[in-house]
């Protein structure tokens, strides 16, 4: 079982899924890092993105990879409005309020999805869904390879945005020093909403990349959000590089865990890691959060 001919393909498959986890986790960690919000609605917003991609394909015949161009701005807008119009207003500056508000938002979104779309699990049949690509000894489904490449590219773009633009600098400034930010003329409420919007845009991208290889249902967000929280804790709350590496590690862990414990228990290994991290390094690998 531990023959490299079996292990290597499993690891490569894990890496591809891990990149998608990383994308979801990047959004989560951005929102946490700036707004200090544990965003329970993150998974529901991913679900919204998946339905968006699904119906664009079913009704409009738009390929999921093409719909990425629509879903990213759409979910960005949804996130911006959600933070600016609902979460920010309801928080009154208290973190506990925000926790409950995001939980409430996720319950509302999921039940709306149940009402309108029923609980059915849906999939699309993209023509390329079962195409395989040979990498070394592994055969990797094409959608996974696309997801891997695109997720890494988006992570790189996000990094550039944060490091090299005024928006990115302002986001990082607001995360640590709000009063100082106001005094250089930064509109802090706008930056909060931008951060939430960008974080949500990440799940929009993830949704488009996931749909050709996954399913949609009103509760599909749970699958990812628990893993994403694990990734964020592993990498360190608010750390970008941590979310990226954490996502890849978790993806490989899940895949190898599935190999060892059996397919249905693949996630067992993830949560064993989660518990171990909380016990031995609660700030994560890149956390620390020096305040």
């Amino acid at each position: 079982m531990l023959d490299p001919v079996i292990l290597l393909p499993a690891a490569i498959n894990g890496l591809t899924m891990g990149a998608v986890y990383a994308l979801v986790a990047l959004g989560l960690t951005l929102i946490y890092g700036v707004l200090h919000i544990i965003n329970f609605a993150h998974g529901s917003l991913l679900m919204v993105g998946l339905y968006g991609a699904f119906f664009l394909y079913q009704a409009g015949g738009i390929d999921p990879y093409l719909s990425l161009v629509l879903l990213v701005p759409a979910l960005f807008g949804l996130g911006y409005i959600l933070q600016w119009g609902v979460i920010g207003r309801a928080s009154h500056g208290s973190d506990q309020n925000v926790l409950l508000v995001t939980l409430g938002v996720s319950i509302v979104i999921e039940n709306l999805a149940l009402y309108f779309f029923t609980g059915d699990t849906r999939t699309i049949e993209a023509p390329y869904a079962f195409e395989m690509v040979d990498i070394a000894v592994a055969r990797v489904p094409l959608p996974r390879l696309v997801a891997f490449g695109a997720a890494l590219a988006i992570a790189a773009l996000l990094w550039l945005l944060m490091a090299k633009t005024d928006l990115g600098r302002a986001i990082r400034a607001v995360a640590k020093e709000r009063q100082g930010a106001r005094l250089v003329g930064i509109d802090v409420d706008h930056i909060f909403a931008m951060s939430f919007g960008i974080g949500t845009a990440c799940v929009g991208a993830a949704a488009a990349l996931l749909l050709p290889m996954f399913y949609v249902s009103p509760h599909v967000g749970h699958v990812f959000v628990l893993v994403a929280f694990t990734v964020v804790v592993l990498g360190g709350m608010g750390s970008f590089i941590g979310a990226l590496l954490g996502g890849l590690i978790i993806g490989v862990t899940e895949s190898l865990g599935g190999l060892i414990f059996g397919e249905t228990f693949g996630q067992l290994a993830i949560f064993l890691i989660f518990i171990a991290i909380l016990l031995f390094r609660p700030t994560g690998f890149f956390g620390g959060r020096p305040s």
Partner: protein, 238 residues
């Protein structure tokens, strides 16, 4: 006082959550002036600053900057007009590099001249040039104060408000800081200096206002205030 006020504050009342702190404050500063607002801790100096800069909603009164009513504008819009505050406690961005802090100084105003202004402030504060790539949180207190002032200058201020720039600095650094402020004023910058450090502020400023319990108690040319018996008793122990 000159005929044309750059900043004109009339009957300003302000406070926190309904509790009044300022009970009707009047003051002016003309273009090119350096004016000090003095007073002990709790006199209401920072409340005055923060209300003028739009961080809080004032209770009443008017604030005119360059002839325009700015009361009720957001801090972002006030910075855009060239009224820039360097806050008490520096408030630099600790997780950003010195360079990034400077760049964000021109986030709302002065962006077109960012590179040129960066070179200028580094010429004024050479120590910041040596620390360019370092996170601001790792700087010493004096260096952070310099960075805060330099960040304010990046916005090409028409009026720079300095809130307690000498706070927490060693006597030697205080001397250096006041020298720098003198130099900035010499280069033509209008400065409102808010300070507890009465002696050195009166040496530097052309005029001064003395605040107590949310009111202006004394005002006039700095030279006259230096000789004022009430002020000497209250602040200099003479």
């Amino acid at each position: 006082m000159s005929a044309v006020s750059l900043l004109e504050v009339r009957s300003l009342r302000a406070g926190y959550g309904g509790v009044p702190v300022l009970h009707g404050v009047d003051f002016d500063i003309a273009a090119g002036e350096i004016v000090a607002v003095l007073g002990s801790n709790g006199a209401g100096k920072s409340t005055l600053n923060n209300n003028v800069c739009g961080l809080y909603r004032l209770f009443g009164g008017t604030v005119r900057f360059a002839g325009e009513d700015i009361a009720g504008l957001s801090s972002s819009d006030i910075v855009a007009r060239g009224l820039v505050q360097v806050p008490e406690g520096r408030r630099v961005f600790p997780n950003l590099t010195v360079r990034e802090n400077l760049d964000l100084g021109s986030y709302r105003r002065g962006r077109a001249n960012r590179a040129r202004n960066r070179d200028r402030v580094v010429a004024v504060f050479p120590r910041l040039g040596e620390r360019f790539g370092q996170a601001a949180g790792t700087l010493s207190g004096g260096e952070q104060q310099m960075l805060a002032i330099a960040r304010g200058l990046m916005a090409e201020p028409r009026l720079l408000i300095l809130d307690e720039p000498s706070l927490g600095l060693s006597p030697l650094l205080v001397e250096e800081m006041f020298g720098l402020i003198r130099r900035l004023h010499g280069d033509g910058l209008s400065i409102l200096l808010v300070e507890q450090n009465v002696v050195q502020s009166l040496d530097l400023a052309q005029r001064a206002y003395v605040m107590e319990n949310g009111r202006i108690m004394l005002s006039g040319p700095a030279a006259a205030l230096r000789e004022d018996p009430a002020l000497r008793r209250a602040y200099l122990g003479m």
